[in-house]
Symmetry: C2
Subunit: 227 residues, 2 copies
């Protein structure tokens, strides 16, 4: 029936009056003005969540990494580049939020040094030292007055194991996991499938377009958020 | 008058019967199935060159890195991902070519090891060893039966110095240089400006849209190619 509702362009107004922050996309970690480290996140899942949440009545703040997607209708959007940028944008506003969904594929590491000029390729080998970026979703989940905090896990193996471990370790309220090693779903695909875990339960959302999946995940979030 | 010709959609058929290979875009160097090293090349300059060359009568083979641009009308296109992919695609067909334009921002380095599974962020610091990629344009220029070989130099300082050095060192027939530290031109911009050097001369192509600039560069190439 959710699919029918989506097709008719109407979704249940589960989030009226609620403020939801959603992060989306990859981050880019500069080595120099030209080169960067990034990942294959397209931002489509996060943007679908923002779009669906707005249609379900939420006041949505989308904190996006560098992607070429239009701002979803009815959402406020802040564009960011690096993990440090995104961290700052999130922390500045997360205190106002009822729900936080960390869907961005934030780079775990950044180059220790960022060269001001393009690095010349004089050496045959180059050793790059990477340092850890702030863990945004874990930091949000550890706030004294934390919003209902949902994380994502993009894995290529042992998906359930890593997701449940992440849920517990980071003290999240919910985690949505997908297997990005599968060609037909996940990164840059129009479709996705999610395994969703929370401390007292789990649900499997089978392969579907990302907007339908977003609405299904938001329905699960609302159910747990109320409890 | 070239601008007028462009506006009218007609360009001088300087390359009728000639085969031109053009590389475009960035390359992506995988660390694991999720993460990669890349650069800010949008592919727009290379695609504009392919488009203009086809309109000037050439048989164009565009070897493209990962970008979200439609194939220019009248061009054959091969999509590639890493520098090694692009190297293989170029070498397989470059023997048939009259002109080669290496406009791609090929990653100079790739991770020495590519992990089969997503790397876990267990460590506080990560050391990445990068090894040199093949230098595609230099390899093309060193072929016994080489095409007229044009390179690009994207620099953030001392543009003329680095470009002339690259021209001589790689034995190119021509090099087009741009200063990517300038915000209004270069990477991801619709506009660009090029300083062009060849062993016996140079030319400055002032700020313009990339298609006009492409036609101007191709006109310079045809003049030197004939000599």
């Amino acid at each position: 029936e959710l699919a029918d509702a989506l097709e008719q362009g109407c979704l249940p107004a589960l989030f009226t009056g609620k403020r939801i922050m959603i992060t989306a996309g990859p981050t880019r970690e500069a080595l120099d003005p030209v080169r960067y480290l990034s990942n294959h996140s397209s931002g489509k899942m996060g943007y679908a969540l923002a779009h669906a949440a707005a249609r379900m009545g939420a006041k949505v703040l989308l904190v996006s990494g560098p992607v070429n997607l239009p701002s979803p209708p009815g959402c406020e959007r802040i564009m960011t580049d690096s993990a440090l940028d995104m961290h700052q944008a999130v922390m500045q506003r997360v205190g106002e939020m009822d729900v936080f969904i960390g869907c961005a594929a934030v780079a775990d590491y950044r180059p220790q040094q960022q060269a001001g000029q393009k690095i010349k390729k004089s050496q045959d080998k180059l050793t790059l030292t990477l340092v850890k970026n702030p863990d945004i979703v874990a930091e949000v989940a550890s706030l004294a007055n934390k919003p209902f905090t949902v994380g994502f896990a993009a894995e290529t193996q042992d998906v359930a194991h890593y997701a449940k471990d992440k849920l517990a370790r980071k003290k999240l309220d919910m985690i949505a996991a997908n297997d990005v090693s599968k060609q037909n779903i996940g990164f840059n695909s129009e479709q996705n499938a999610l395994s969703v875990y929370w401390p007292s339960g789990e649900a499997l959302l089978p392969v579907s377009d990302k907007l339908t999946l977003a609405a299904q995940l938001l329905t699960l979030i609302e159910k747990q958020y109320k409890e």
